[in-house]
């Protein structure tokens, strides 16, 4: 059994681009867990998409053996965490599996929004936080200033913290020694009833789900019958072991304080959701570990294939992704305009984008996605509660007693110069100002309560645009509030286009309806007849545009007997027509339709 006092479980937390993945790579190298030859850049980020976006989408963990200066060999478990607000819950569970966290701060940039947000998350989980100042090789690096910021803003002693360059491999040993000295060793009784925390799981086609967990109490062995306390599912452990950078390494047992994996021919990651507690079926723990929360979709949209015949491929692809991503939910829906597709739920906008990109890249699908929507709560006059994730299902206003929309806590950190740009922007989006704090003379933090609906479309992009990229955003779902909501239908030539309906606050409905009408007008080619574009709430038209009838499409000269050329010209037109999508009686190029769906608020 591993000596608990030699175990160090830790995460690395950082603002995006502050060098988290690069530092992880250096730690792996220094522990000779990976040879230089095997070292591909940013090893922990396996997916292509992660490498490209520079973000870690799924948590990963590795066990490293570190021979410290005191002559002892320590077992390091590095648990990597996703770095985006959409995955806050996953981050919190990964952190709960650790005793310490390395806080990477860019010595040139200093403290940023996610530095704070992640630090708070780590503090909530009672972690020992070890600041590290990275990128000291950059000319703009000012480690002293960054240290002062950490002390002033976060209140962590930072003056003696290592100053490193992960990129250049400078001073990495200092980080390792810091971990040995300052990350507390785990505690927990190896003989107590089993209590292990699931922080990730991954589907493997050969062995089924591989569950990543941290043992808090007791010991897990192959052959043991285990039970997931939240999902209730039971399995017999087939294999358990350590997580190595280049694969898994089976072992006899994992006991309190250790991090590893087990397999048990589990068919779906749904049964082993993040945050659930693994216990022994025959000798269960009296209570589960705190903090479990079933994953909750915040944003929904319809996902369709451009080519309707690819619908089965889309279903297969979603099923495959879901094997590995319990937070992705979907159910079939159909649209008159778009055919058969799925209504998919996502943790947030990033999650949505990532899934869409994976569907397009890994499964070679061309997608059309509808405007994202949040979930609205509607109390009907007959006393029933309806959750609406699709405008199509919004009840008739006559049957609505009260409608509620989700609000989020929003925190924006920015240089003070941009406050004048940010505040009106939040106001436009129905933001409710809470307070503003100067973090130091260079940074202020603004707190708002804002409808989630206003955040999901383009708030982040608009914020970046109006602050030259300096502001950072963090948000978390808070509560449902009563709201004056309306459903707006779009009509083309008098026929409703279901894919374009949306739910909005009454005050915002008109503006958005106008913009969609204008965009449709821009994008719908002239038809044989005049096409009225209308936006309507119930039966009342609130905005209108008209696409004038086509009047000129002619080859004036058909002369000199060149009939072949004329035929070719007509056939060229046919190629353009192929990509047309029928919205009732109106023909529209698919691309144009997508342009309308990509509505931006500017």
């Amino acid at each position: 059994m591993m000596d608990q006092s030699k175990i160090r479980n830790f995460s690395i937390i950082a603002h995006i681009d502050h060098g988290k993945s690069t530092l992880a790579d250096r730690l792996l190298e220094k522990c000779e867990a990976v040879s230089q030859r095997e070292m591909t850049s940013q090893l922990l980020d396996n997916m292509d998409l992660e490498k490209e976006r520079g973000i870690t989408i799924k948590a990963r963990a590795v066990r490293l053996d570190y021979k410290a200066q005191d002559g002892e060999t320590y077992e390091f478990n590095l648990i990597d965490t996703p770095g985006h607000v959409d995955f806050n819950y996953e981050v919190s569970r990964s952190l709960a599996a650790c005793e310490g966290a390395i806080l990477v701060v860019d010595a040139a940039q200093g403290v940023e929004a996610q530095t704070l947000a992640n630090t708070y998350l780590a503090l909530e989980n009672n972690l020992e936080i070890l600041p590290v100042f990275n990128k000291i090789d950059l000319p703009a690096a000012d480690p002293q200033k960054a240290k002062q910021e950490v002390e002033d803003i976060i209140g962590l002693p930072a003056m003696d913290a290592p100053e490193i360059s992960a990129k250049q491999g400078i001073n990495i040993e200092a980080v390792l020694e810091d971990i040995v000295a300052n990350v507390p060793a785990p505690e927990g009784d190896p003989n107590a009833p089993l209590k292990a925390l699931i922080f990730d799981s991954q589907y493997d086609p050969y062995v089924g789900v591989i569950v990543y967990f941290r043992v808090m109490e007791g010991t897990l062995r192959p052959g043991m019958k285990v039970k997931m306390m939240a999902s209730g599912a039971s399995y017999e452990v087939l294999e358990c072991g350590y997580l190595r950078p280049l694969g898994i390494e089976p072992c006899q047992e994992l006991s309190a304080g250790e991090v590893g994996y087990f397999t048990a021919s589990i068919k779906t990651v749904k049964d082993t959701s993040v945050g659930d507690t693994i216990t022994e079926a025959d000798r269960p723990a009296s209570e589960a570990l705190p903090g479990y929360r079933p994953s909750q979709s915040m944003v929904y949209c319809g996902v369709y294939t451009e080519d309707g015949s690819k619908y089965p491929d889309l279903r297969d692809a979603l099923e495959k992704l879901q094997l590995n991503d319990a937070s992705l939910v979907f159910e079939p829906e159909s649209s008159a305009a778009l055919g058969f597709g799925f209504r998919c739920g996502f943790l947030g906008m990033l999650h949505m984008e990532v899934i869409q990109e994976r569907l397009e890249r890994e499964f070679n699908l061309n997608l059309i996605t509808t405007l994202p929507s949040v979930i609205y709560e509607v109390d009907k006059t007959d006393g029933t509660l309806v959750l609406v994730d699709n405008p199509h299902n919004y009840p008739d206003p006559a049957h609505i007693a009260e409608a509620r929309e989700p609000y989020a806590k929003v925190s924006i950190i920015s240089p003070p110069d941009y406050v004048g740009n940010i505040m009106p922007m939040c106001q436009e989006r129905r933001g409710e100002f809470k307070d503003m704090q100067y973090l130091d003379t260079h940074l202020v933090e603004l707190h708002y309560r804002m409808p989630l609906n206003e955040i999901i479309y383009d708030f982040f992009d608009a914020l970046k645009a109006r602050t030259k990229g300096y502001a950072s955003l963090d948000y978390a779902m808070e509560e449902y509030r009563s709201s004056d909501l309306v459903k707006v239908d779009m009509l083309l030539n008098g026929e409703q286009v279901d894919a374009l309906s949306f739910i909005a606050h009454r005050e915002k409905a008109y503006g958005r309806a106008r913009r969609i009408c204008e965009k449709l007008k821009e994008n719908i080619p002239r038809q044989m007849f005049e096409v009225p574009i209308q936006a309507a709430i119930g039966g009342k038209v609130i905005a209108r545009e008209t696409v004038k009838a086509m009047r000129k499409d002619v080859l004036a000269k058909c002369y000199g007997g060149d009939i072949t050329r004329k035929k070719k010209l007509l056939e060229k037109q046919k190629e353009g027509k192929k990509k047309m999508r029928s919205l009732g009686t109106v023909q529209m190029p698919t691309e144009a339709f997508m342009a309308v769906l990509r509505l931006d608020e500017e």
């Binding site: 086509m550 009047r551 000129k552 002619v554 004036a556 000269k557 058909c558 035929k567």
Partner: protein
């Protein structure tokens, strides 16, 4: 009757030379030429005519059309010689229509005299506009006065069957100035008027200049106004862009729209002959050298039996005011017109098409979106 028509042939001769190319034109022509080249070109034309007399065949020709380019730069003498050489190899019908395109600035007494003598009985002249600034913007070499004089001169030499071309949708052209042009042209009392919407063709100087042109709605209004005006002045519309006094339709162009055979002589000329559509190379030197050395000068060819050309027939007939007669269609192609008729009927309530006595035709409003309608009807 039908067999009789089939034995007849139309001949188109392309004269690909211009003093200066108009800024909007993408027809094949060159501006660098000398007498030697023109002589060799004539020689090649004559030799190519020989190909159609091999094996002793002798066709009857009821239309001869000499177009360009600018045929008038070929010179009256060569044009007259050309007509004569055609006459040696083909039998002209008694009412043969022999047309030569003439540009106003190259029209003179000698030219008309020689053409008249050679038997040319129809002159087609590009006037384009009565507004001199619009003519300049098109890159034309004449003003309106010159065009008026050319028409008078032509009549003086007893060629009375005159066709004049007009263009609309021009840079800086208003509805008023367009109707002025239409009236000014009609005042010259030609037998035939063609009105073409300016089409901005790629690879032309005008295209590169990216001019500001009237929008589609305005151009459509100009078109419909011209149809009305010309109708009121006694010119019947018989094709999208063509209008004539009763009995003066262009017999030659009508061949194109009725799938009747014609042969194209010269570089970049198109033929529809013996169930084949083909064209000659768009290159004067390759044409001359090929013809004189006996090599093939065919550029593109498609061979589809006439009975399988129902789609082409529909495409072309829908350009004409005669439209498509259901009975004639099934007689020619051995299949029913019903499916096409169903599609065309959709356009009747919107005023784009009309139907009477088994004949379907587009209205002027329909003509102007005929591409869309034809694609829909033919399902392309």
């Amino acid at each position: 009757m039908k067999n009789n028509i089939d034995k007849h042939l139309g001949i188109y001769v392309h004269i690909p030379f211009c003093r200066k190319k108009c800024d909007y034109c993408d027809f094949y022509s060159v501006c660098a030429y000398d007498d030697n080249l023109l002589d060799r070109y004539l020689k090649a034309l004559v030799k190519q005519l020989d190909d159609y007399t091999l094996g002793g065949s002798r066709y009857t020709v009821d239309t001869l059309y000499i177009g360009g380019g600018t045929p008038s730069v070929f010179g009256g003498k060569r044009l007259a010689a050309l007509v004569k050489e055609v006459g040696k190899r083909f039998d002209f019908t008694r009412d043969v229509e022999i047309t030569v395109e003439v540009n106003p600035e190259s029209a003179d007494k000698a030219l008309f005299k020689q053409l008249k003598k050679a038997g040319v009985n129809r002159i087609s002249m590009g006037v384009q506009s009565s507004c001199d600034s619009q003519l300049a913007a098109l890159g034309r070499l004449h003003d309106f006065k010159t065009a008026e004089n050319a028409v008078l001169l032509c009549r003086k030499y007893c060629i009375n069957n005159i066709s004049l071309d007009l263009m609309y949708g021009l840079e800086g052209q208003s509805m008023d100035s367009w109707l002025e042009s239409v009236e000014a042209i009609a005042a010259l009392d030609p037998m035939h008027i063609s009105c073409y919407a300016l089409t901005l063709e790629e690879h032309t100087p005008m295209y590169r200049r990216d001019p500001v042109l009237p929008d589609d709605d305005t151009v459509a209004d100009m078109y419909l106004a011209a149809v009305d005006k010309l109708g009121a002045l006694g010119y019947e519309q018989y094709e999208i862009s063509n209008f004539s006094r009763r009995g003066y339709r262009s017999a030659h162009n009508s061949r194109y729209w009725d799938l009747r055979p014609y042969i194209g002589i010269g570089a970049a000329a198109h033929s529809f002959f013996g169930d084949k559509r083909y064209s000659t190379v768009r290159d004067i030197d390759r044409y001359i050298n090929g013809i004189l050395s006996g090599d093939s000068v065919v550029d593109e060819a498609d061979d589809v039996a006439v009975k399988n050309r129902s789609g082409e027939y529909i495409m072309l007939r829908l350009r004409t005011s005669d439209g498509i007669d259901e009975a004639e269609f099934s007689r020619r192609f051995g299949s029913e017109f019903d499916n096409y008729a169903e599609k065309l009927k959709k356009y009747i309530p919107t005023g784009h098409a009309e139907c009477g006595g088994g004949v379907y035709r587009l209205t002027p409003k329909g003509f102007f979106i005929s591409n869309t309608i034809i694609c829909d009807v033919l399902d392309i």
